[in-house]
Amino acid sequence: MTSVPQRLSSAPRSTASTPPLPRRLWNALRGLLLSEYFILYLSIAYFLLISLFFPTLLEPSNLSNQLTNIWPLLTIAIGQTFVLIIAGIDLSQGSVMAICSVVGGVILSTSLSKSVMSNSPLWGTLLTEKGGILSGDPNAVLVAVLLMVAVGALIGFINGTAITRFNMPPFMVTLVSLLFFSAFAIYLTQSRNIANLPDSFLRLGQGDIVSVYLGEKATPQIKRTELLSLVTYSAVIAVALGVVAHFILSRTVFGRQMYAIGTNRRAAEISGVPTRRVITLVYMFSGACAGLAAVIYSARLGAGRPTLGDNLLLDIIGATVIGGTSLFGGKGKVLWTLFGVVFFTLLLNTLNQMRLSAFQIDAVKGSVILLAALIDVTRNRFLTGGRVA
């Protein structure tokens, strides 16, 4: 049987049969736009451009700072990436962070002030003037970290079950979780922070494993030492999580099934994919990532905070989408999210340098996400080319 030349089926609908630019330039542009590394190139190019105007951006201390901002955001964004791949969304990650932070504080705190905490429903039972449950215990940090991740996974389990068993839309389920758990965290602590966490915990967010000593520098008035973080505990946590996540997505059956569900849930179900189990596990993973991120953020800020993650949702979803993960499901990679987080962090860095007001910064964030969506659509058009037989 004569075969139809396959090109015909994917021919674009346009009236032009030749591209509008010289072919080589056109191909180069296409290659660039379609490349996985597009966002990375864009981030670096943008950063270098802005640093022409603000040279302090390239100073080692600034770069080291930006690194420390990347790791916690990456940790939680990896969880969101998983959820987006299955065409879901997890709006509750911020509140999961809040609850897990409170849980961590309740376990770890070494001392608390009565006048501040006495209104909390946990006062007298789990929280006393001596601190939290495992106050002073050498194993407290390990227990706290495990429990924070577990609580995150539990909330994810609740989300996932509501979505799969009761067929409720993810947007609504996670929105309700967001509202409920934020309020619950505030209720448990009556808005107070649970302070006085042990140093061994704080090191997870603030401590260096490898630092770079740049010696003494004389800045305008004062001699000061410069000690820069290079490899920190939070870096190790984030990178380890990234490696595990990448492995799951690219090499395991579970990962492939995730992509199938995100592309076409019905077809996946008919093909024997255990959709309910996969979806629930993915939401648990997202919650666990939020719990892990709570470890890093709480350690950074030195307290169990019921308001942790309040303003983070835009950053999380923005960074993930900019990286290239599609909001419609079926597409996403850990590497892309890393690039998206890098881009977002560098963008915020430059905006802070420009001393824009908070309102202007939010406006820019919003337009950048819009730009990312446009790029996504354009890339899609390049790839699919047009109508199909």
Partner: protein, 515 residues
């Protein structure tokens, strides 16, 4: 015979590949021209050229004797050409009248922009609906209409435009027999009025009964154009595929055994199916026929475990099951090729290889962490693709949506083949597929049976079932109403069995249709 529309050496290429090559065609005025050809033969591109969606690379057209160079679809509309696409272009949230007059609302006299003259709109709509014999009020929202009725609204639209040429693209695929008959009547009436019609269809018998002239396209070229009398089904097929097909159906090489693979006993689900008893043996192809709404697909879904059943049992490989699930079914080596491959069978944007491997992933993974054994999987997938002769680019990279309908269906079958099932449930496996690909799918089904598997073949085309099956089971309104062995195959008898209970239904119901 004057030609209303002439095409002179029209060509159109995309990236160097010709979709339409040097086509010269005269569309006779006041006649019905049937246009046939396989998918990819260039029919749609040719229609898009006529309709102003595309511009030809070479050649010229005339309409009504004057040069015709449409730059946009509205040029075609102004010239008097109307298109009735396969996917209807109606707005379901608007009323019939609004759809008909969209873009051409009758204005109230006096001022411009004073508003739509709804009374005039209603009057004119009523007249148009009368012309197409659609007894529905013009204010009714389109979403309440059945596919056949929506088709008639599209025709009313075309009449409103006072089209001289109406092009029908696969108009009967989602119509019932009765609606098809009505459509045919309207088309004949249009022809009597002097309207010229081009009728594109895969259903060769319909074309043969309706068209005055038939044109055949193949690989972008116009192969034949002659009055209808010079054609018969087998000539049409040979012209379309380029070689002669002695028969539509490949010969069976095996006989069914007596070993039951699947037995249904008393399966009931209130409102869906009642007391179903059915057996499929190894090496057997069992056809399941029925009208739309008879419950065939629902039964298939119950067998496969997608839906539950209230009472009865399913016996698979000796094991009696009171309830089952998709995963159980797959474990019991059942495969289900659904009737809509785009929505339920394929991951359209994923690579072909990804699709083929989907069901069998766990089998190609290391135990424990379930890491995929990529090389072994790739080999198996490649083998399956070759076995079924799927024509595509690199299967690891090309998305399923880039394939033709026939190849897409092969991908779905390959996906199931990989899981090594023994029972195949196939629901309308050749719907929307051209003749050449249909034959290939039939061959695949025969091979499956020859290898000792069982096939439950659900279809609405009696000829297809009669050509392929050992037995045909007829369903009607959720129950099994009859069974025919090969020796007793008789088209009328089968149809009558399917229609049995319809006489008591009220007139106006689509299904109520004496044979």
């Amino acid at each position: 015979m004057t030609a209303l529309l002439t095409l002179q050496s029209i060509s159109k290429a995309f990236f160097g590949v010709y979709a339409v090559r040097d086509v010269t065609l005269n569309v006779p005025a006041g006649r019905i021209l049937g246009l046939i050809g396989q998918n990819g033969a260039g029919k749609s591109t040719l229609m898009n050229l006529i309709g102003g969606v595309l511009a030809p690379d070479a050649g010229s057209m005339t309409f009504d004797g004057k040069p015709y160079v449409p730059r946009t679809p509205s040029d075609a509309v102004s010239a008097g050409i109307a298109f009735i696409h396969q996917e209807l272009n109606l707005f379901t949230n608007l009323s019939i009248a609004e759809n008909i007059f969209l873009g051409a609302f009758p204005q109230r006299r006096g001022f411009p922009f004073v508003g739509i003259d709804r009374a005039a709109m209603r009057r004119q709509s009523e007249a148009l609906l009368e012309a197409v014999d659609l007894k529905v009020k013009p204010e009714s929202p389109v979403e309440q209409l059945a596919p056949g009725e929506r088709q008639l609204v599209e025709i009313a639209k075309a009449l409103q435009l006072d089209a001289r040429l109406i092009i029908f693209d696969e108009p009967t695929t989602s119509l019932t027999t009765r609606e098809t008959r009505k459509l045919v009547e309207i088309m004949q009436r249009l022809r009597e009025r002097g309207t010229t019609l081009i009728y594109i269809s895969h259903i060769l018998n319909d074309v043969l009964s309706l068209a005055d002239e038939i044109a055949v396209m193949r690989d972008g070229e116009l192969i034949a154009h002659a009055p209808r009398v010079e054609f018969d089904a087998s000539r049409m097929i040979s012209l379309m595929v380029g070689y002669s097909l002695d028969q539509l159906f490949p010969p069976r090489t095996s006989t069914p055994t007596q070993t039951p693979l699947l037995t249904l006993k008393g399966i009931s689900q209130p409102g869906i199916v009642k007391d179903i008893g059915l057996t499929v043996n190894a090496g057997e192809v069992v056809g399941l026929f029925g009208l739309m709404g008879s419950g065939r697909t629902e039964l298939a879904r119950i067998i496969f475990g997608l839906d539950s059943f209230a009472s009865g049992e399913i016996v698979i490989g000796g094991e009696v099951l009171r309830h089952t699930s998709v995963r159980e079914s797959i474990r019991n080596r059942i495969a289900f090729v659904t009737e809509n491959r785009r929505e339920e069978g394929l991951l359209m944007t994923s690579a072909i290889a990804e699709n083929i491997g989907l069901v069998s992933l766990p089998r190609y993974a290391l135990p424990g962490v379930q890491v995929v054994d990529q090389p072994r999987l790739e080999r198996a997938v490649g083998q399956a693709a070759n076995q079924l002769q799927i024509k595509s680019g690199n299967i690891e990279r090309q998305a399923a949506k880039a394939l033709s309908g026939g190849n897409q269906q092969k991908v779905v079958i390959a996906k199931w083949l990989l899981s090594e099932p023994s029972l195949f449930i196939m629901d309308e496996p050749t719907r929307g597929i051209d003749v050449g690909a249909k034959y290939e799918i039939y061959s695949i089904i025969n091979t499956l049976a020859a290898e000792g598997n069982g096939v439950l073949f659900i279809s609405s085309e009696i000829e297809e079932l009669m050509g392929m099956c050992d037995r045909i089971v007829v369903m009607s309104q959720g129950e099994i109403y009859g069974e025919f062995t090969r020796a007793d195959f008789d088209k009328e008898a089968i149809l009558r069995t399917a229609f049995r209970e319809q006489a008591t239904q009220k007139a106006g119901d689509h299904a109520a249709d004496p044979a």
